[in-house]
């Protein structure tokens, strides 16, 4: 089965670390995925209005491009890209009237009927590789690291595109257990981090993020793990400001799931892109002796 990799805009710039760690990990696991040609922005958010089809053109163009290039599935890392592409795909599969309008509007492209599957990277690791095969390749187990899996909104809602049923976080939890980490559960794994609302607020006023961080810290987490660059910004990069304003009482290093995967597969710290995370992430990993030099 040909699976194309759809990176999305943010992974080429602010969240390069989400991508580089993933690609190095795939390499170590012996899996090849090719970045699709001529991809474009997915639109970041799925349009919720009945008459707003123009914003479907972006995600659908990616899907039909993948079909044109012979892919049976595309895989994404960013939760928001995953959500937007998966929902646009469902619409093209299930709504003949809207599908027809979109296909006719894009008359310079091939017709699309929802044939390409949309996977998140977590599904890909479980289904195409499997936890056992991952475990065999673990070189640096994450022993003594207490990890909280954070799904946020877009990996779970709405139900029809959730990577697993609402309230279940087994894909991440099983992955981190496989890598040797201790799992910390907390009431907040699927709570919103405040999303784009941070653009309307002063830095450090994001209470939604503060609640997620506090809930995970209270339960003893040493690291919070996400697959979304927006969550990483709100949760990881705003902590000093949240602390200054008294919204949280302790900080909690926040990183991408692909970075933890890469670390345990023995990938050199230079390839983890830690300079793009908040500085406390590197400090935590160093103190746990989890970093290996090239």
């Amino acid at each position: 089965m040909k699976i194309s990799y759809y990176p999305g805009c943010t992974l080429k710039y602010k969240a390069k670390n989400l991508e580089t760690a993933a690609l190095a990990s795939l390499d170590a696991l012996g899996i090849e995925v090719e970045e699709m040609d001529r991809w474009n922005c997915c639109g970041a958010v799925f349009s919720l209005a009945n008459d707003d089809l123009i914003h479907m053109v972006g995600p659908v163009r990616n899907l039909l491009r993948a079909k044109e290039q012979g892919a049976e599935a595309i895989v994404t890392l960013c939760s928001m890209c995953y959500n937007t592409l998966a929902r646009a795909n469902l619409l093209m599969k299930n709504d003949p009237v809207k599908r027809d309008t979109i296909n006719r509007f894009m008359d310079d492209e091939i017709d699309y009927f929802g044939e390409v599957e949309v996977y998140h990277f977590l599904n890909l690791i479980k289904n195409e590789i499997g936890w056992e095969a991952v475990q065999e390749k673990v070189k640096t187990p994450l022993t003594d690291l207490k990890v909280a899996s954070y799904y946020g909104c877009t990996l779970q809602r709405p139900e029809e595109v959730g990577i697993e049923p609402i309230g279940k976080f087994s894909l991440m939890n099983e992955l981190f257990s496989t890598l040797g980490a201790e799992i910390v559960t907390f009431d907040g794994a699927d709570k919103c981090c405040g999303s784009y609302q941070v653009m309307c607020e002063e830095i450090g006023d994001n209470n939604a993020a503060a609640k997620v961080l506090s809930a995970a810290s209270t339960n003893g987490a040493e690291a919070l793990v996400t697959s979304c660059p927006l969550c990483e910004f709100n949760l990881g990069k705003q902590q000093d400001a949240l602390l200054d304003k008294g919204r949280i009482t302790e900080t909690l290093p926040t990183l991408y799931f692909t970075q933890l995967l890469a670390i345990s597969l023995g990938i050199a710290s230079e390839e983890l892109g830690l300079e793009l995370n908040d500085a406390q992430v590197a400090q935590l990993l160093e103190s746990k002796k989890l970093l290996v030099a090239a």
Binding site: G8, C9, T10, Y13, K14, A15, C41, G43, A44, V45, S47, L48, A49, N50, D51, D52, H55, C78, M80, C81, C153, R157, P158, E159, I166, D190, K191, C192, G194, S195, Y196, Q197, V198, M199, C200, I203, N207, A208, K211, P229, L230, E232, F233, K237
Partner: protein, 135 residues
């Protein structure tokens, strides 16, 4: 607070506009407040989601003109997956935003955002924020 039902209050036109845009049957709302409890942004809203649904049931668009509730909505769908009447409240919030945005009004002005902030923001946040909050 329950709104009294009288002809002055109800705008049939506005109700059908919201219904048409959102595709949701807002009349099915039984005012249980589950959406408000689930909403991560409720504490920052002038009126909680339940109340916004109530205003919407009456088509009270002018009453909702200056409230911040639908602008504070983060489209997180926590409400939608819990509503016992199966209403996708996030879609109702989106239609209320669009009814304003389609008159060429912005909720945030991109040119007013300080450069230092723009440098920090991840791309998806700006695409998402500008899509939701500007016309």
């Amino acid at each position: 607070m329950t709104l009294p039902l009288n002809p002055q209050r109800v705008s049939v036109d506005s109700i059908s506009k919201i219904k048409e845009l959102s595709g949701e049957n807002i009349k099915a709302c039984m005012q249980c407040g589950t959406c408000t409890v689930a909403c991560p942004m409720a504490e920052e809203m002038d009126f909680f989601p339940r109340k916004v649904m109530h205003f919407s049931q009456f088509g009270m668009l002018s009453r909702m003109e200056d409230i911040n509730s639908y602008w504070k909505c983060a489209s997180c769908h926590s409400c939608s997956v819990r509503c016992p009447r199966g209403i996708d409240i996030a879609k109702v919030m989106e239609s209320l935003r669009l009814l304003v945005l389609r008159t060429n009004k912005n909720y945030i002005e991109p040119s007013q955002i300080p450069k230092e902030k723009l440098k920090e923001y991840p791309g998806i946040m700006m695409v998402a924020g500008f899509r939701k909050l500007t016309s």
